[in-house]
């Protein structure tokens, strides 16, 4: 009863928590990347539970960004993400990149979001030539929203909760909501902050070493469309 009255973790969970912190602080010395240390406090920090599910249990193992154990990622090879964004970092998402999916920098994706790049029932192409679905930078996709195949969303598009986006909003700076999604509010582009993070990460990879993902994790044609200049 004392534990409950003090709202603490149970003692086994406390021990595991200490071990987890120890592991995260020293994992880079054993040979892995510094992602546990460097992404702590960012909006898509790598959690041990996600790392364990992906790297050890090999669930969603082809995704090169941290993914919640309860989400499903398909076609990670044809999904290109920007810095500090992780589709599927939250629970219950369904990320389907088989038709080519791009998600811009710093975009936040809430739980239970469906990002689709193939129309329902369509056969997945062997290698898509271009992105079917493109989401801009600094977007927010709220809970239970669906972004359908062939949609282009510009920067600072905020997709409201429960929205089903079937049309493109390429100019961005707007709030869209409803089913089908309509613009409910426009944002002032001058007021929107395009903030940047020093030492940014693309999933598990530092931005400076983005080249290692080409052809190892990401389809080279799609990789060059986004990171070709880098």
């Amino acid at each position: 009863m004392g534990r409950l009255l003090n709202m603490q973790l149970s003692w086994p969970a406390t021990i595991l928590d200490r071990l987890r912190r120890l592991f995260e602080a020293h994992w880079h010395r054993v040979g892995g990347g510094r992602y546990f240390v460097d992404t702590a406090g960012t909006q898509v920090e790598v959690h041990f539970r996600m790392w364990f599910a992906q790297k050890i249990l090999r669930r969603n193992a082809d995704a090169y960004w941290p993914v919640h154990p309860a989400t499903r990622v398909r076609g990670a090879r044809f999904t290109v993400i920007g810095v500090e964004t992780s589709p599927g970092w939250s629970t219950g998402c369904e990320i389907d990149g088989r038709g080519g999916l791009y998600i811009g920098d710093y975009t936040q994706i809430a739980p239970n979001v469906r990002l689709l790049s193939l129309p329902d029932g369509a056969e997945a192409p062997a290698a898509p030539i271009d992105f079917a679905t493109k989401i801009g930078r600094h977007c927010l996709i709220a809970m239970n929203a669906t972004v359908g195949a062939g949609v282009r969303l510009g920067d600072f598009t905020i997709v409201g909760a429960g929205a089903v986006v079937a049309d493109s909003f390429p100019e961005g700076y707007c709030v869209v909501a409803g089913n089908p999604a309509r613009i409910v509010k426009r944002l002032d582009p001058a007021a929107c902050e395009h903030w940047q993070r020093p030492n940014a990460y693309v999933g598990y990879t530092p931005l400076a070493r983005i080249g290692v993902l080409r052809d190892r994790k990401i389809d080279p044609a799609l990789f060059d469309r986004i990171w070709g200049a880098a």
Partner: protein
């Protein structure tokens, strides 16, 4: 009738520490932010179904006997639209007694639901509903009718999650972040707290 806690949820929370900060049973596939900003009534377990998201950064107050379905979002803080990492201050999310929130609903920040409301599946509640016994539906949710279901009985020994009802006032006074609970905080910041 008291529900028994599923052993999976119990093991995930108290053995592995997944959603271990919550003082009520939660499914390991649900997501929770700021458990100490949630004021929970008796017999309601938000997030016991998988894929729920209980985001209490601006406070959530939930009444007695609320049933929450799977992939429900209880969102209490709006993002600042021009600086998406910040949140806008706001009143807490309030859900009345015996509400039924069906599968796939999203309750947005600042909403207050009256007692006995039913939110049908997949709706997005954006406005408050102060009429008891109404049925809300749609995106955005509108009142589509009323119902006169009998008042469900809550067992006499029903707990506030894992906390027994007789201990809850003490528990809430010690642990909850009262500044996020709006007008409901007054019951727990009374002089009986004697500054301890």
């Amino acid at each position: 009738m008291t529900r028994t806690v599923p052993w999976k949820a119990r093991f995930a929370q108290h053995g592995l520490g997944i959603n271990g900060g919550a003082y009520w049973p939660m499914h390991p596939a649900s997501q929770l932010d700021y458990p100490n900003r949630v004021l929970l009534g008796r017999g309601s377990w938000p997030g016991i179904e998988p894929f729920c998201y209980v985001s209490a950064n601006m406070g959530i107050v939930i009444g007695d006997g609320v049933s929450v379905g799977r992939s429900v979002g209880l969102i209490s803080g709006n993002h600042d639209p021009v600086r998406l990492t910040d949140y806008l201050e706001g009143p807490p999310l309030v859900i009345g007694d015996h509400c039924v929130i069906e599968e796939g609903c999203t309750i947005l920040p600042g909403v207050e639901l009256a007692d006995f409301c039913i939110v049908t599946r997949g709706s997005v509640v954006t406005r408050s509903c102060f009429e008891p016994r109404s049925i809300l539906s749609g995106n955005p949710a509108k009142i589509v009718g009323t119902h006169d279901r009998p008042v469900p009985v809550i067992a006499a020994d029903a707990r506030h999650g894992y906390v027994a009802a007789r201990d809850f006032a003490d528990f809430a006074r010690r642990n909850l972040r009262h500044q996020f609970l709006g007008r409901f905080a007054a019951a727990f910041t009374s002089p009986r707290a004697e500054g301890s």
